[in-house]
């Protein structure tokens, strides 16, 4: 939290994207989170990814619920649309907005409390609907706004700041999402932008529900010895299984990858993801393999990170619902509301 606003002055040599914007143009209001909060790093990664993808800020919709994490949508892309919803109800708002206008880019930011406790049901159904959005969980294992109680994602044995030990099993959003059929499931760490930024860029271009669970240490209530969500613990125990490099449409794959070490996935818009696997047997397109690997590592006290599962076959909400290609606000009123006769005909068809 800072009382002085970040000066508008910028480095004169900052690179510009295809729109002629620098990453400073993608910033939002001053963060009021604690100094050193992992969430602020994720905000910076979102800014970086939006800039790198040359997204026009006004085509982005920022959505959130309640909690420290949900405040962060105010801290990036001040030129975007935003909706700060009721606790745990962000997926409903996202569904409504997305149904009305499918052409916008939806970025939802939630936390482990907002998603895995009060909003667990909404979260699951957004996945089932394959809502075309990026869903970021800023996962710190505690309720920061209410002074650091364990959240539903806290690991067994993790110690709170005052010494209590958590004994309830955690809900792992990554495993949950894979079992629910999510098509883009990733895990990352707020302190590793080299991993997080390309994941965000790919997630924004993925057609369908893209979940990124980001371990985001709470410096105030969960960054101590014995915590499994501290900066030090996350660095020591995370193992990257699949690194995703994002390659925008029509640009060359610049890096030479050794044979067999890389696998290319082409997304709907023609951009590609180059997957670099640490273990050649790991197949991110197979949900069973992903779940096995995650659970194996979990038993060894490790956290698997990277793009853990990607599938391209699932139909998104608009394909499932056979909705028109045009956003509702661009459809002529007469077609959108065809009048009483048309309504009577529809009702007749159900008799």
């Amino acid at each position: 939290m800072t009382f002085m606003s970040k000066p508008k002055v910028a480095h004169p040599d900052l690179p510009r994207n295809a729109l002629g914007l620098t990453r400073r143009d993608y910033e939002g209001a001053n963060s009021t989170l604690c100094a050193g909060c992992g969430h602020d790093s994720i905000t910076a990664a979102i800014i970086e990814a939006c800039w790198a993808n040359a997204v026009e800020p006004h085509t982005v919709v920022k959505l959130s619920g309640i909690g420290c994490s949900s405040k962060t949508t105010a801290y990036f892309l001040s030129g975007a649309h935003g909706f700060n919803s009721v606790h745990g109800r962000m997926p409903s708002i996202a569904t409504g907005a997305n149904a009305a206008n499918r052409t916008l880019n939806y970025i939802g930011v939630s936390g482990d409390g907002d998603t895995l406790s009060i909003g667990l049901g909404q979260f699951c159904h957004a996945i089932r609907r394959n809502l075309n959005m990026v869903y970021i969980i800023e996962n710190n294992g505690v309720y920061g706004l209410t002074k650091g109680q364990f959240s539903a994602s806290a690991d067994i044995g993790s110690k709170a700041k005052r010494g209590e030990v958590n004994r309830q099993p955690p809900i792992d959003p990554v495993q949950l999402a894979i079992t629910l059929g999510a098509s883009f499931v990733a895990r990352s760490f707020s302190g590793d932008k080299a991993q997080l930024v390309p994941l965000l860029r790919a997630a924004m271009r993925h057609n369908g529900f893209a979940l990124i669970d980001v371990i985001s240490p709470c410096v105030t209530f969960n960054d101590h010895e014995g915590s499994t969500r501290s900066y030090a613990y996350a660095r020591e125990h995370s193992e990257e299984a699949v690194h995703a490099d994002f390659v925008p449409f029509a640009s060359e794959i610049a890096v030479d990858y050794a044979d067999g070490a890389a696998q290319t996935v082409t997304l709907h818009d023609g951009s590609r993801i180059v997957l670099r696997k640490v273990d050649a047997d790991y197949d991110p397109s197979d949900p069973g393999v992903a779940l096995d690997a995650i659970q194996q590592r979990m038993r060894r006290g490790e956290v698997l990170t990277g793009l853990l599962h990607i599938g391209q076959d699932a139909e998104d909400i608009h394909a499932l619902g056979a909705t028109p290609d045009t956003p509702l606000n661009a459809i002529a009123y007469e077609s959108l509301s065809p009048g009483g006769d048309a309504l009577r005909r529809v009702l007749e068809s159900f008799r």
Partner: protein
Amino acid sequence: MPETKAGLRAAPPAAMQATDTADPRYYHRVVDCQWACPTHTDVPEYIRLIAQGRFADAYLLNRASNVFPGILGRVCDRPCEPACRRGRVEDKPVAICRLKRVAADLKGTGIADRLPKAPARLNGKRIACIGAGPASLTVANDLAPLGYAVTIFERHGAPGGLMRTNIPSFRLPQSVLDEEIGVILDLGVSLKLGAPIDSLSRLLAEGRFDAIFVGSGAPKGKDLPLPGRQAANVHIGIDWLESVAFGHTGSIGERVLIIGVGNTAMDCCRTSMRLGAKSVKVMARKPRSFFKASDWELEDAEEERVEIVVNHAPTAFVLDAGRVVGMRFNRMEYDLDGTRIVAERVVDEVTIPCDEVILAIGQENAFPWIERDAGVEFDRWDRPVVDPLTFQSTRPDVFFGGDAAQGPKNIIWAVEHGHQAALSIHAYLSGLAPADRPREAVRLSSRKMGLHEWAYKNDYAPLERRLMPHVSLKERFKKISIEVELGFTPEQAAQEAQRCLNCDVQTVFEAPQCIECDACIDICPVDCLTIATNGSEAEVRARLRAPALDPSQPLFVSAPLKQTGRIMVKDENLCLHCGLCAERCPTAAWDMQKSTLHWPHADYGSSTCHSHERKTA
């Protein structure tokens, strides 16, 4: 901890060493203005004092380094301003020089008891200073309070050297000169006016002095030996300015040509405009980018309708009845490769009519009065051999400083030469080796007062550089002594002071505290921080968050960080010193600490050193 990941990640062989911030030069260099200033004036501190309305404190802080704040606040060459970080962050540097003048203008009258004083007792050692210019006056300023009896010999009827003879009074009023020189003379310094020294051997033979300081300047203007040069209406610039300064010359012809385009040329052309010239042309041999004159002096001359003519190389004076009536020039064309001339051609020849010509093409020092067997060695260009650090000549009791030592530079360099020569003279007469210099030191003290509270104003003020108000063009030519620049008002000074970035409030980093949360990197408005894997400097510079492409600006490199073994790298180039990195740091690995430089003078280690008595700003 070899079992951790950090321990496994060994630094590559070409890795950079952690920056040694204990070396006083590191933090000194970050304060660009202070580093560029020959006398290392504590610029950010005096600007803060001005911002607080503490003008007398600002004046005295200035005086401790540059001795002549009122004079230099008007006519300094300002090496600080091109160096100023604000000029890289935005377009225009802080008006450092003009703020110095504000401190002098508004200091009030109550500072007499805070100025250096004549000592109660003399130490019995006597020093002669030759020439009463800024170098000699600085030697007197530093040595008189220590008990030395200083005598200054001046050939003219008034002290000041080139500050009086070459700088016209519309830029530097006599009253300012008299006041600041008077403070030094009041230390019990004996000033002999109209007393040229015409033999060093004789002065030495008399045995009246224990050491001699030569501060006789560079009084010989360069001549232009072209056909027709003997005409009476061709003048050497510095001699002509001198005769104007002493009232011997009071008029000039209507059409004047000035040959040369340095700062002397600017003073000559503007003086001509005040002595009755109707048309003044400054003739330059090369294009504008090669001009030696400071930009602001060129601007001021052009504001006064002086015409500056480029690419004209003089070839001959055109005479009629023994008087110059014009000058012939070759019109030149140049091929440039970047800033270098690779080829030149004469396009054609022109004659420009004129009534008077002033040559302002440079000056040099000259020592016809030093016998070559007096023990002072001269090099093959007939310049005295002077140690660049101690300013001692090959004769241990003779020292040089200012333009006399190293050829024409400027006032602020002369002052620093004076400080260093005084230190050497004090060492020499105390039986110590002048080459053993006391080292500079930097003291750091935290500016943290509380959560989000700093003992300096860290908010970036998006203000443009204030313009210096001038006397109207109609008024200023009425008398040569009308000072053109009016000085900032207190309100303008207060606004200009807010533009200073406080570069002396350093970002001090403690690697062991860092948890690599990236908070500082994310908040830095100018992207000067990166946590990077180590590598060679050239390679790391290219992959920082914003590439650090100016190798003259240092990188700060931390020790390896404990979680990943990476390093914190800071490109000092554009840092705003806003302190947001320190505000955002959860572990106080970053702190904002004010650095204070102690640059030793002759009073080093003695009780007459005043610098500790003032509360910092």
